[in-house]
């Protein structure tokens, strides 16, 4: 009898010891020994943005020695998926960066803190009220825009000039655009621009230039299959004429500048947002230029000022005050403005805006100049895209793939897109 008992107690001891080590590992970093408050801050972006953000974070930590900010970043696609999973598991970081397309979903689901609760630590008096609205859902401020951006045509100045195309000016029409592409193509002997058909953002510019919108006030799709079919017929014609990239070159685009035809030095122009166009600088240096996007027949501007991204605090954060202090530092302080420049778009704080616009250098200066030149010409941003819109961008690209590989006609693909969009936006 005694032998087995010892064996059993040994086993128990081993098991207990095992449990102890396991829990020891699982403890995590929630309690820091020196009583510091730890904030988690996640965002998406490229390495250039990461370098600037890290610098700003370090400056904040120097100013607030009691706060430690842990950062992590990834590309937009994987960021989106990770954040959604964290939201499902109640493990959202304290500070999160959101796209305009995400705000309805996250604020509407109780993931975000109502920033009115932290008004003292986070004054918004110097921010443009029209832009502040982009972070509001149901009248409450859940996030603050970090910057303002607009769509552009990024192009290789040297290649365009060699073809005899002078710098496009605000107000050029889609016809002017096609003419320019034809000229560049004839000179180069190959296509001039990346096929814009796959990107919903470009469709939106074209659509708004015709006085229409992606979404109506009811949160439903506000354009018809005919509208979309017309756009895709237009881009398909350009593709068949050899003015824009063929399907095989367009299909690999995945949201990072390096994967696009212009990033791969196949085309010499591409639609993109203004601040992210900085990514082309690595390939084109000071040959890189940006122009406003083409306008509709009657001169209607399709592009608009969009909050490039929004920053908010998670409802589950244990340190909302410190988190609010961090946002205040990032958006309102001189120090952060000098470090970040227009990397996340031009600042929303009007004082920082004029400070940054007058002091930026290099490519950022072009962004500042473009935004200044468009001042007063653009319509205010449309209301935040409804919940369920999240996956539609990739649906759009996928459906256009079917068009550009000539598996479906523009009309068929447009019908497919609207069917799926209506199902996703089901109230």
């Amino acid at each position: 009898m005694p032998r087995p008992r010892t064996r059993a107690s040994c086993a128990a001891a081993v098991a207990i010891a095992l449990c102890a080590t396991l829990t020891g590992c699982g403890g995590g970093a929630s309690a820091t020994a020196d009583g510091k408050v730890t904030l988690r801050f996640t965002w998406w972006g490229n390495t250039d943005r990461a370098a600037r953000t890290e610098k700003a974070v370090a400056a904040f930590e120097r100013a607030h020695p009691g706060i430690d900010v842990q950062t992590s970043y990834s590309t937009y696609d994987s960021y989106k998926q990770k954040l959604a999973t964290q939201a499902a598991g109640d493990d959202v970081p304290d500070l999160i960066q959101l796209d305009y397309r995400q705000i309805s979903q996250y604020a509407g689901s109780g993931v975000m803190l109502d920033l009115a609760e932290q008004r003292k630590a986070l004054p918004t008096g110097e921010m443009d009220p029209k832009l502040l609205k982009t972070g509001q859902v149901g009248g409450r401020q859940y996030a603050l825009p970090m910057g303002v951006g607009t769509q552009t045509v990024a192009y290789d100045k040297a290649a365009w000039r060699a073809a005899g195309v002078i710098q496009p000016q605000a107000g050029w029409s889609w016809q002017d655009w096609v003419k320019a592409l034809r000229q560049v193509k004839e000179h180069r002997g190959t296509y001039a621009m990346t096929d814009p058909g796959a990107a919903e953002d470009q469709f939106e510019i074209w659509l708004r230039g015709r006085g229409k919108q992606l979404y109506g006030k009811d949160g439903q799709v506000a354009f018809s299959a005919g509208d979309l079919a017309r756009w895709w017929t237009f881009t398909s014609k350009l593709r068949k004429e050899g003015l824009v990239s063929p399907a095989t070159d367009t299909t690999q685009m995945s949201g990072s500048v390096e994967d696009t035809p212009m990033g791969r030095k196949l085309s010499v122009a591409e639609f993109n947002w203004d601040a992210p166009s900085a990514g082309y600088e690595a390939m084109y240096g000071d040959r890189l230029a940006i122009a406003p996007t083409p306008t509709g027949e009657d001169g209607t501007f399709g592009q608009y000022y969009k909050p490039s991204m929004l920053l908010g605090i998670s409802a589950g954060s244990e340190h909302p005050r410190e988190a609010a202090q961090f946002i205040d530092f990032l958006l309102n302080s001189d120090k952060a403005a000098d470090i970040l420049g227009v990397d996340r778009g031009t600042p929303v704080n009007s004082r920082q805006r004029s400070r940054v616009l007058s002091s930026v250098t290099g490519f950022q200066k072009q962004v500042a100049r473009l935004q200044t030149s468009l001042r007063g010409k653009l319509d205010p941003p449309p209301a935040a895209p409804p919940r369920g819109d999240n996956g539609l961008q990739s649906t759009f690209q996928r459906d256009y793939d079917q068009v550009s590989f000539e598996k479906l006609t523009p009309r068929e693909a447009a019908e497919n897109f609207l069917t799926e969009a209506r199902a996703e936006l089901r109230p």
């Binding site: 008992r5 086993a11 081993v14 098991a15 095992l18 998926q81 399907a247 299909t251 590989f405």
Partner: protein, 335 residues
Amino acid sequence: MANTSTARATSAPASEAAPSGAQRAGGTGGRRPYGQGRPPVRERQGAAWVFLSPWVLGATVLTLLPMAVSLYLSFTDYNLFDPPSWVGLRNYTQMFTEDARLYRSVGNTLLYVFIAVPLQLALALAAALALKSMRRGRSFYRSAFYAPSLLGASMSIALVWRAIFNDGGTVDNLLSGVGVHIGGWVNQPGWALLSVALLTVWQFGAPMVIFLAGLQQIPQEMYEAAAVDGAGPWRKFASITLPMLSPVLFFNLVLQTIQAFQVFTPAFAISSGRGGPADSTLFYTLYLYERGFTSSHMGYASAMAWMLLLAIGIVTAVLFRTSKSWVFYANEEGG
């Protein structure tokens, strides 16, 4: 005739070894009448459970529980943000009746399985045969051929693969050099799936090692006897190697088929997560992932996962059923 008798001879000691081993194990307790001087069964089981507890805990918390939750979710509409709402069988009926892309993904997956699995097994067998006849450097080549299996599942190799099969990549340049102008494989609907399949075929190391072990089990006397009877190398392969190797072949076939149905990483990396170009590499798992994580239909994705489990179960059952007619077990012949 010679080979069946040898097979019986070799299998005999193996089948005898088992009972004698069992007797020996029972022998220590056998000194006294069973049950005396031993702790009651329940107590002994208690100790067993204590030792098993880490595994049981892991299996329950990390596997069984999530599976149960996923089964529940498959009957709900769940978007990660709002609590799941019960929809009964709607996800399942939608899969069968409304979802054309699902059928597309099933077609792609089957095509992939039919290309990748036979090619991979053939290559693995060929490599194993070559290694077996090798006198020197066998362990070096074995490791060298096995290496892709260690690397291949990783994201980085898939990305390298994408570069190799891209426009202006290695393959494009080589083929252009001999006058074949296909362009990049990964951005053409007709070729992309093949580039993914080749990545899998290249990872033939694991089945190769198993084949090699199986080959070394085949008694040399059989080949000698066959040689005396005047059999050539092809005859030896068809009449000795293949039948004797069939259980191993079957094992590899089942394993690789199950794995092929679940292919994900290479297609994800090569198509930037979208199953492109034009849905040509949209495998079932990739579509499942897209439904779950891109469009936030977790309920639907769960239902898809359960259908995959069911499908793999059925395919495996069919393979087992057919195995009776072509798999030869040396010891069953003797009984």
